[in-house]
């Protein structure tokens, strides 16, 4: 126990500098990469997408990496133990794929300076901890356009998990996209107060539908909202994964995220010994956020419009959050220019077009 870190350090110094030794020392042996998942992989959802990314990384790098994962790890004390276990088992790169793993990741990273960590959706970094996130809101804007075109009742239901910036970016961007094609339509929000509770998500979706929503979407992890829409003969915008399987007649589009390329680049950098701590927040352009699974019921001209707007977002000529940005109580939130990342990360209001009242803290 005592000797191993010492020997590693010596080996590293011999290899010529502390940065180089991160797994490159043994070129023939594959680099071990660990993943920590917050929920079971299941058949759709956040963790499902992470696991697809993991498999794509393994495939892309052939025999250069081997990966392992631990699923359904609660955010908290258990997470720290699992992350430390993975580091002790010799993983040289560890992806911790949920917001609540941020502090445990930083803590374990301090104890294992020769292991690289990539934490998802957080904001703390360290010399051996990088962060990543996807600009889901860019795809949400496009989904809003489709929803705005498809709605007959001009009421669109949105099931949210918690009123935090990440979720609010999605709601607001979706609303702005919807309003850009249909200024009459409004969005109603119900908070499920849970990331994953199919019963609550379904009840919330049904409540929205009964209040006249003919398109529903969700920022929660289960397929319940899409299934509810399917059962009620309404439309749905799926989140995380393409959920056509769960709502073949309901899904008009799916807001998704893809991690394969990013995971691959990180693992490749560790193999090459060139890894550096970065903060990557990739959107449509990077292919990390996407809009897919557009249903056959969506008319061609709407599909064309979405393609056009997507190209504009990628080209940088269209920003979902551009001035003037007015919240739904009439207060101007952005006078000029485009909302920067700090503005995005501190979002705490609804834009005009959201009919619900922002929940008071």
């Amino acid at each position: 126990m005592l000797f191993n870190p010492l020997r590693n350090t010596l080996a590293a110094m011999l290899a010529g500098g502390a940065l180089v030794f991160s797994g490159a020392a043994l070129a023939d042996e594959p680099v071990k990469v660990g993943f920590v998942y917050v929920s079971p992989i299941g058949e759709a959802g956040w963790t499902w997408q992470q696991d697809i990314g993991r498999k794509e990384m393994e495939q892309a790098l052939g025999g250069k990496v081997v990966s392992q994962f631990v699923e359904d790890v609660p955010e908290g004390a258990d997470a720290e133990r699992v992350i430390r276990d993975l580091a002790q088992q010799g993983n040289k790169l560890i992806f911790t794929t949920s917001f609540g793993y941020m502090n445990p990741t930083i803590k374990v990273a301090r104890q294992f300076p020769d292991v690289k960590f990539v934490h998802s959706t957080g904001y703390k970094t360290a010399p051996n901890v990088a962060t990543t996130n996807a600009r889901f809101y860019e795809s949400r804007y496009l989904a809003g356009i489709i929803a705005g075109k498809m709605t007959q009742s001009n009421v669109i239901g949105y099931v949210g998990a918690f009123p935090i910036p990440e979720v609010l970016q999605g709601i607001n961007s979706f609303t702005l996209g919807m309003r850009s094609v249909n200024p009459e339509a409004e969005v109603r929000v119900i908070w499920a107060n849970s990331w994953f509770d199919p019963g609550k998500e379904r009840d919330a979706a049904l409540a929205l539908i009964s209040q006249g929503a003919d398109v529903v979407t969700h920022h929660t992890d289960s397929t319940a909202t899409v299934q509810a829409a399917q059962d009620e003969g309404k439309y749905a915008v799926a989140y995380h994964s393409d959920m056509k399987k769960f709502g073949p007649d309901a899904q008009i589009a799916a807001v998704t995220h893809h991690w394969g390329e990013y995971f691959t680049s990180q693992a490749q950098a560790v193999v090459d010994g060139t890894w550096k701590s970065t903060s990557v927040w990739g959107g449509l352009k990077a292919g990390m956020a996407a809009l897919e699974g557009i249903g056959d019921m969506v008319p061609q001209d709407v599909k064309d419009l979405v393609e056009q707007k997507k190209a504009e977002i990628i080209a940088g000529t269209l920003a979902p959050f551009a001035a003037p940005l007015v919240d739904n109580e009439g207060k101007t939130r952005l006078e000029s220019g485009v909302l920067d990342d700090d503005g995005l990360n501190s979002m705490n209001y609804y834009v005009q077009g959201v009919a619900s009242k922002f929940p008071k803290q």
Binding site: G157, F196, D197, G199, L208, D231, S356
Partner: protein, 305 residues
């Protein structure tokens, strides 16, 4: 109007598992046994029923499997309490905690799997304005649970067997001296109650969500227990209370969507507050208690002493 009909329809669906479990517990308690394990029974039945339905492709089989698993666990409970004389409250609590863990373990492979929900409606009646949407487009189990409620009412009030069951709950010693087997009658009541809790759990995973999630019963077993007291041990009041409690949850969502600021936490306290209120009210009047609460509730009976 449509929103109101939808609210009624959702309240009935949300109330159905509460009613099923509560009816079973009511029969248990009428025989003098209180089973605090309902939460655990429902969870185990939810995963058993879900696994059975997913494997066999038959929802009906899922319900049968759920009911059977509930009977199995309550049979175990009966052996511990009725035959070995274990404390009912402690055993029930243990069963509840066991069910939480056991169901999570049994369900590992089923998390994220989904059943396709089917649509049901009663022909002709479903097209009545308002009532059709509110009442006549439910899963058959919803109607079955209503029939069950009436059947239990009839059984307890109008049949000889029901009278014997109540006698066992009131005074097991008297029933014993009249030649009735208190133990067998209590076992039968517990098995029936277990089957009801099983149906309730299976309803959660087969119809309500329909999928399996760890801990998905989310306290409904406890609400069902509170409901028997709230209803002062009367089946028809159980039905009313179940739909009322079910409706409260649904109402929170409707109010949110309409922009009415209500803390959902306060509304989730309501079933328990209402139960405490009823307890206070019936405790003030000795006659009410004597009329409704089984006199030997929670007391074990040993025929050999």
């Amino acid at each position: 109007m449509d929103a109101l009909a939808a609210l009624v329809a959702s309240a009935i669906i949300a109330g159905t598992p509460l009613m099923l479990a509560s009816l079973g517990l009511l029969v248990n308690e009428k025989s003098g046994v209180i089973n605090l394990g309902s939460e655990g029974l429902m969870l185990v039945a939810a995963i058993t029923g879900f696994a059975a339905a997913l494997t066999s492709g038959s929802i009906a089989l899922g319900f049968i499997a759920g009911a059977f698993s509930g009977m199995l666990l309550s049979g175990f409970f009966a052996w511990l309490t009725v035959w070995l004389g274990a404390n009912q409250v402690a055993t029930g609590l243990a069963l509840s905690l066991f069910g939480v863990g056991a169901s999570a373990y049994m369900g590992i492979d089923y998390v994220g799997a989904t059943l396709n929900s089917e649509r049901f409606a009663i022909p002709v009646l479903r097209d009545i304005p308002f009532l059709g949407q509110a009442l006549f487009r439910q899963h058959p189990m919803v109607y079955l649970s209503m029939v069950l409620c009436l059947a239990i009412f009839w059984f307890l009030q109008r049949t000889r067997a029901g009278l014997i069951l109540r006698a066992v709950g009131e005074s097991p010693a008297s029933a014993h001296s009249l030649g009735y087997s208190v133990r067998r009658i209590r076992l039968a009541a517990l098995l029936f109650g277990g089957a009801c809790c099983g149906l309730a759990g299976a309803f959660m995973s087969l119809v309500y969500t329909p999928m399996w999630v760890e801990g998905m019963v989310a306290g409904r077993g406890w609400i069902a227990l509170a409901l028997t007291t709230f209803a002062t041990w009367r089946p028809l009041r159980v039905m009313l209370g179940a739909y009322l409690f079910g409706g409260i949850t649904i109402l929170t969502y409707h109010m949110q969507a309409l922009g009415v600021p209500v803390a959902s936490q306060i509304l989730s306290m309501l079933p328990y507050l209402a139960t405490i209120l009823v307890l206070v009210l019936i405790s003030r009047n000795a006659n009410w208690i004597r009329l409704n609460m089984p006199a030997s509730l929670g007391k074990n009976f040993n025929p050999n002493t």
